[in-house]
């Protein structure tokens, strides 16, 4: 990729411009995410870099963790500000988000893995059509899905219940499980299944002792995708959950809409950390899966 030694000055200029351009784009992609982290530690109730924060030497007065205290529902005197309400809403939302996310993930992973196993079999009839149906929740815009589900679930009294939200999230999350597990199964050596069966293992045992350990990294990646899909989802929750059924994204939405408060940035910082953790895990799992299947790193 380096410039050859015989490059002309014009080529050199182009090359450096190209590198500069790419740097700017990388900056554009990542800078907003990291800009919010320092602001979340600001003492000011506005979402800005205050003068004290930018001063040199650093002014300890300008920094505080009061908004984090606010987020976890600690409403002591130094936390409360006239413009920023303090309540346990964020913590209620966190509990609900994990509750919905975990149940939806378990169901989606189980259903999705089974389906991926079926789809990877050579004898699967109507594979294209079935795949298209299974992937469709990922493709249809959320707002259409939300509208359709709201009308339909209203008929069977599932709106404003957690059950309705969880069912909707399972439907949205399964495509990710199906895609990830199917991709893992592409390199799977079917002879191992035959070997296990010829040695007398029943189908269930074959699955848990032979197939599952080999595709586990794929299943876990799929589960993480499913979890983050449910965890981040706000449109369905907005329409299908009742007012007091809060989740983190719903609370953030309300926060951006009504009270622009720095507490949103505290939660956003936590979510950025969560996404860094998930990204690292998925990347490690992907490498492990490739190693297990004997695919050499490119």
């Amino acid at each position: 990729m380096a410039l050859p030694s015989y490059a002309s000055p014009v080529q050199r200029t182009y090359y450096y411009f190209y590198l500069f351009f790419c740097t700017v784009v990388f900056f554009f992609l990542i800078a907003p995410l990291f800009a919010i982290i320092p602001i979340s530690f600001s003492v000011s109730p506005f979402m800005v870099f205050t003068e004290g924060m930018l001063a040199w030497p650093p002014d300890p007065e300008a920094w505080s963790i009061r908004w984090y205290k606010n987020m976890i529902g600690d409403c002591s005197a130094d936390v409360v500000s006239s413009t920023v309400p303090c309540s346990t809403k964020w913590m209620v939302g966190t509990v609900n988000s994990f509750y919905i996310g975990i149940i939806a993930t378990v169901i989606a992973t189980a259903l999705g893995t089974l389906a991926a196993l079926g789809l990877s079999r050579p004898h699967m009839p109507y594979k294209g059509l079935i795949m298209a149906i299974l992937i469709s929740p990922m493709i249809v815009p959320l707002i259409i899905t939300a509208a359709g589900m709201f009308f339909f679930y209203a008929r069977i009294n599932l709106v404003y219940t957690f059950t309705g939200v969880i069912l909707a999230h399972v439907a949205l999350a399964t495509p990710f499980v199906v895609i990830t597990v199917t991709a893992t199964l592409v390199g799977f050596d079917m002879n191992m299944v035959k070997a296990a069966q010829s040695l007398g293992a029943k189908p269930m045992r074959t699955f848990f002792k032979v197939i599952m350990p080999l595709i586990l990294p794929g299943i876990i990646s799929g589960a993480l995708f499913a979890f983050i899909t449910s965890f981040d989802e706000v449109v369905i929750v907005m329409f299908m959950a009742s007012i007091d059924q809060l989740t983190i994204p719903k609370q953030m939405w309300a926060g951006i809409r009504q009270e622009i408060s720095p507490v949103i940035l505290c939660m956003a910082t936590c979510l950025v950390l969560l996404s860094i953790f998930l990204l690292t895990t998925v990347e490690l799992l992907r490498r492990r899966s490739e190693k297990l299947r004997g695919i050499k790193a490119r």
Binding site: A35, P141, I143, A147, F239, I276
Partner: protein
């Protein structure tokens, strides 16, 4: 010597012809594979496909109001609009009794529907129903129902109210779709443009397309060099830089949207930097968020990974020797790029471009939060009718049109890329 070829079928050990036995095994395998997929398929059909189908049915459904005023509508159809200025006496008479005896809740629902057709219906009917009930209570039978109505309120003599019945008289109606395109029915049931002040959807549809096209172009311009860099760097470095692309991809959409509000608002980071650099004065801070510009900037950043990833996977397999060979044969670098490299990236460009475009037209959260008044896309109208006006027919029709557009583009995507080639991360 004579060779006899056995014409008898090959048999398996248990005496069944081999072909039949194989076919049976094949069938069993098919069934097994299908049974594994079946639970999920059923789940998706019940929780997802049926709701979407239900929505599409709702977009053409007008049966509620027809069950409230069946007789009136039937009589209404006999009205010869060319000959008489107002509907015949029978229409007034049936409406009189249907209002007097109808179920209050059902009529209430129907009134909401009538108000979508022409504002003013609700108060007119409510007032009239009160008067009619009084008349019925007294036990009087009006001589002329038409005159009674007009005496109650002079609007009953205004044919424009009656004309608006045109779009409600059938159980199945395409009116919501026409409304979603700023059209309505006139007195003869022909499709005409809405009044000037009620035209807002075409404008939003056009803006949705415009924003989607711009976002796709911006993503291509920003994503192409980056994908090229990632594809040509040694794997150690490119894996590291890939984090910059994947991290936003894994971060909550709301976090990214919030981040852009923090960056772009008037006291935000970018304005702060510009003031500090002296590019703009302190009073000249630029309004970059809560308008179309905000929507464009935020959506470009949010959708950029969807452009970079397909481009990257295509570019990685283009042999580096091609560019060198072209230059060896005398092409200038720009020429070599244009004639040799670029054509090979077309699959990546079309895959990324279609994906970004399709995701952009259905976007709701980001435009709603950073779009302000003039940056909202069609998704915002769907949400508005779903939650605020409760005009579910129009909401479903807007959704139906959007869904149709998406399906066309996904069909294209499938033709070009193949839907089962979608990869994550």
């Amino acid at each position: 010597m004579e060779v006899t070829i056995s014409t008898a079928e090959l048999l398996t050990t248990d005496g069944i012809p081999l072909k039949q036995s194989l076919r049976k095994a094949e069938r069993r395998n098919k069934l097994r594979a299908f049974l594994l997929v079946f639970p999920l398929l059923l789940f998706i059909i019940v929780t997802f496909v049926m709701p979407i189908g239900d929505m599409l049915l709702r977009s053409v459904d007008d049966s509620q109001i027809n069950s409230v005023f069946p007789k009136t509508f039937e009589e209404y159809k006999n009205w010869d609009k060319g000959a008489d200025e107002l509907p015949p006496e029978e229409v007034y008479k049936s409406l009189f009794f249907e209002l007097a005896n109808g179920d209050k809740r059902q009529i209430g629902k129907a009134l909401t529907r009538m108000n979508y057709a022409k504002s003013g219906w609700k108060s007119l009917i409510k007032k009239t129903t009160r008067e009619i009930k009084k008349i019925v209570k007294k036990g009087e039978e009006p001589v002329s129902y038409k005159d009674t109505f007009i005496k109650i309120n002079k609007f009953w003599g205004d044919p424009t109210y009656w004309y608006s019945f045109n779009q409600m008289v059938n159980d199945r109606s395409s009116i919501y779709y026409w409304n979603a395109l700023d059209r309505t029915f006139d007195e003869d049931g022909d499709v005409v443009l809405q009044d000037e002040k009620r035209r807002m959807y075409i404008k939003t549809w056009l803006r949705t397309f415009k924003v989607s096209v711009y976002v796709t172009i911006f993503c291509l311009i920003l994503g192409f060099p980056v994908a090229h860099l990632l594809a040509n760097l040694p794997l150690r470095y490119s894996n590291l830089l890939m984090i910059f692309v994947l991290l936003p991809f894994w971060t909550s959409l709301l976090v990214r949207t919030t981040a852009w509000i923090v960056m772009l608002q008037q006291n935000g980071v970018i304005n702060g930097i510009l003031v500090w650099l002296g590019v703009i004065s302190d009073d000249g801070r630029i309004q970059m968020v809560y308008n179309e510009a905000g929507t464009l900037i935020a959506m470009t950043q949010i959708l950029l990974p969807f452009m970079i990833l397909p481009l990257y996977s295509v570019m990685r397999v283009i042999p580096k020797s091609h560019m060198r060979a072209a230059q060896n044969l005398g092409a200038k670098p720009a020429m070599a790029f244009w004639r040799v490299y670029l054509p090979q990236t077309i699959p990546g460009i079309s895959a990324g471009g279609l994906l970004v475009f399709v995701l952009a037209i259905g976007y709701f959260i980001t435009p709603e939060l950073v779009g302000g008044k003039d940056g909202k896309l069609i998704g915002s109208w769907i949400a508005y009718h779903l939650k605020t006006t409760l005009n579910w027919g129009l909401c479903a029709a807007l959704g139906g049109i959007l869904l149709g557009i998406m399906l066309i583009f996904y069909w294209l995507y499938n033709k070009i890329v193949g839907i089962d080639n979608i990869k994550l991360g």
